[in-house]
Symmetry: C2
Subunit: 341 residues, 2 copies
């Protein structure tokens, strides 16, 4: 079989580009817009922030959107397709023809994303939703909506960023060599040139520190965040984090949640990663040998690349499921992401 | 949500154990029997070799089967459920109630496995078939049967061993971080205590050496294999091997086949691996950075563990697809394997 014939096999299943929306337009949403822009199989048609939204069925321009958001504070000011609204998500859902949304919203408070998903369910919209949630409790709120999502005709992909997401999927693959999985240990290194580009993400990280929670982190002023980072020389060291990798691997039947640990080091003043992000999966083979598989991310890959790439890969996989009439909730450990061209 | 509640979510989708058959009972088939024996979600009911088969709806005992095969040369001698037959596969398909088969057959000649699959199609049997084929040309013969498999109600999982299989799936996950994948480089190390336990596998490896092909390797006497291995001190060094990882990653849209290379070192006289098996995925992120993700297998995991674990993980995933009425052909790069408990 020639490469041409294989291409024929691929093309025979070719379908119209997936029309994609992005909810949230901070650092993650903006990166997502850049990731999706060059893709042939997807067209980015919609995005919303707190104060407005932009919708263009022909496709939005990332540079114009980012410039408008950064200079004026909302996509609602975008000419000609921006609309200012204080119920931007609800308005966008009602107006736009979108096959799938990436929920790039900061989940503050911890119930915010679930409330957004309830808006989708109540609106009668059908399609694919993808989140890059991190906390176990946040993903559990989505699990509780499983039947409602199924009945609403929504295919929901949970925990589909970097971790949980990329690394959880790698762990699910690695587990296949073992009769029993003893531990899954995720250790991440993140380097960011300056924390202000990822204010919401850094606040979520601070919420994991001893003595903090998400509410307290959210209530901190920028000056207070600065002061905290000054004390640690810009480094945040996080251990035994509440990360949904645990419940996702438990749900996939791979191991109980207490065998999954997540920790890492975030450098908020240096784009170089303080350590190589990796997941180690230790188990016992059928012959009784104990061993460890390791999946290590290249240091040059940014958090944005490792979150947004998988998110759209799972969105494509979710769109395949949705076309087959398969609705409900799936996690990154259950479904193989599809590569978006 | 408590661990108990999550368990409820898992159990609510619980189904009867998958009834599994194994075709081929050499080193790989015997290892597969040991891998599956302790699983609650699968029951091993059938196996066939060249001269006979064994079928027991209540389950077969791996130790008894292996002892019979090793002492008498065929499962057909197993008491009381063995049957001697010179058309063992055809007879087994017709007689046994099996949900899915693992095709652990040596693919010699290179068209043998495809001919077996045609027997399944012609028999009217419906279920899941899983192979651990290695050669591109062998997997391409299966791709050509895609429509026939679909029409026959068979869900066929191709290339679901270690490589292709486990490492191809890891590469498909790793690719998600990149806008473009530049190379996928698979390097394996295999150590086996003595080559005689894996005669067919070693002959397939010899077929990859310069100056050899599968037919010539197949025609070699044991003494000739011994003589060849004496020359190399038992080491086989393989480069640019014809491995189906290439067509599988191309089919998944991840990169063209020429960007995928497979090589390795096999030590036929030492169970210790001569190097750690790994896959390196190099690509360009959306920001233009070049980087490499690496997935490395623990040295203590055997070829048998890394082939049979994934094979049954894909068989479970294939059974889920089959229950949903999804038939046809899928590769290890397209479907997430499910962990078998």
């Amino acid at each position: 079989m020639s490469a041409e014939q294989v291409k024929g096999l691929i093309n025979s299943s070719a379908i119209a580009p997936v029309r994609v929306g992005i909810l949230g337009f901070g650092g993650l949403g903006q990166a997502a817009a850049k990731v999706i822009a060059p893709k042939r199989e997807m067209v980015w048609v919609a995005a919303a922030d707190q104060k407005g939204y932009a919708y263009n069925a022909e496709g939005l321009d990332p540079d114009a959107c980012i410039a408008t958001y950064q200079s004026l504070g909302s996509l609602g000011y975008l000419e000609p397709s921006g609309i200012l609204s204080n119920r931007s998500i609800q308005d966008l859902i009602g107006q736009a023809s979108v096959d799938g949304y990436f929920l790039a919203l900061p989940n503050l408070p911890n119930t915010f994303m679930a409330s957004v998903v309830r808006q989708f369910i109540q609106s009668g919209w059908r399609g694919v939703l993808v989140d890059a949630l991190k906390r176990t409790s946040a993903v559990e709120q989505m699990l509780a909506l499983k039947d409602e999502l199924q009945n609403a005709g929504i295919t929901y992909m949970a925990g589909c960023g970097a971790t949980p997401g990329l690394l959880t999927a790698a762990a699910a693959i690695a587990a296949q060599s073992y009769a029993e999985v003893h531990s899954v240990k995720i250790t991440f290194g993140v380097g960011i040139a300056n924390w202000e580009a990822y204010r919401a993400t850094i606040r979520e990280d601070i919420g994991h520190l001893p003595g903090y929670d998400v509410e307290r982190a959210r209530a901190m002023s920028d000056a207070e965040v600065e002061a905290l980072l000054d004390e640690t020389n810009g480094i945040l060291t996080l251990e035994n984090m509440e990360h949904a990798d645990d419940v996702m691997l438990e749900l996939a039947g791979i191991c109980s949640r207490d065998r999954v640990t997540v920790g890492g080091v975030v450098d908020t003043r240096n784009p170089k990663k303080p350590l190589s992000t990796n997941v180690q999966v230790t188990g016992r083979t059928f012959e009784g040998k104990i061993s460890t598989h390791t999946f290590t991310l290249g240091d040059e890959t940014s958090m944005a690349a490792n979150v947004c790439g998988p998110a759209f890969g799972y969105l494509k996989a979710g769109a395949s499921l949705h076309r087959r009439g398969i609705y409900g909730l799936f996690t990154a450990a259950e479904v193989m992401p599809q590569f978006v061209q």
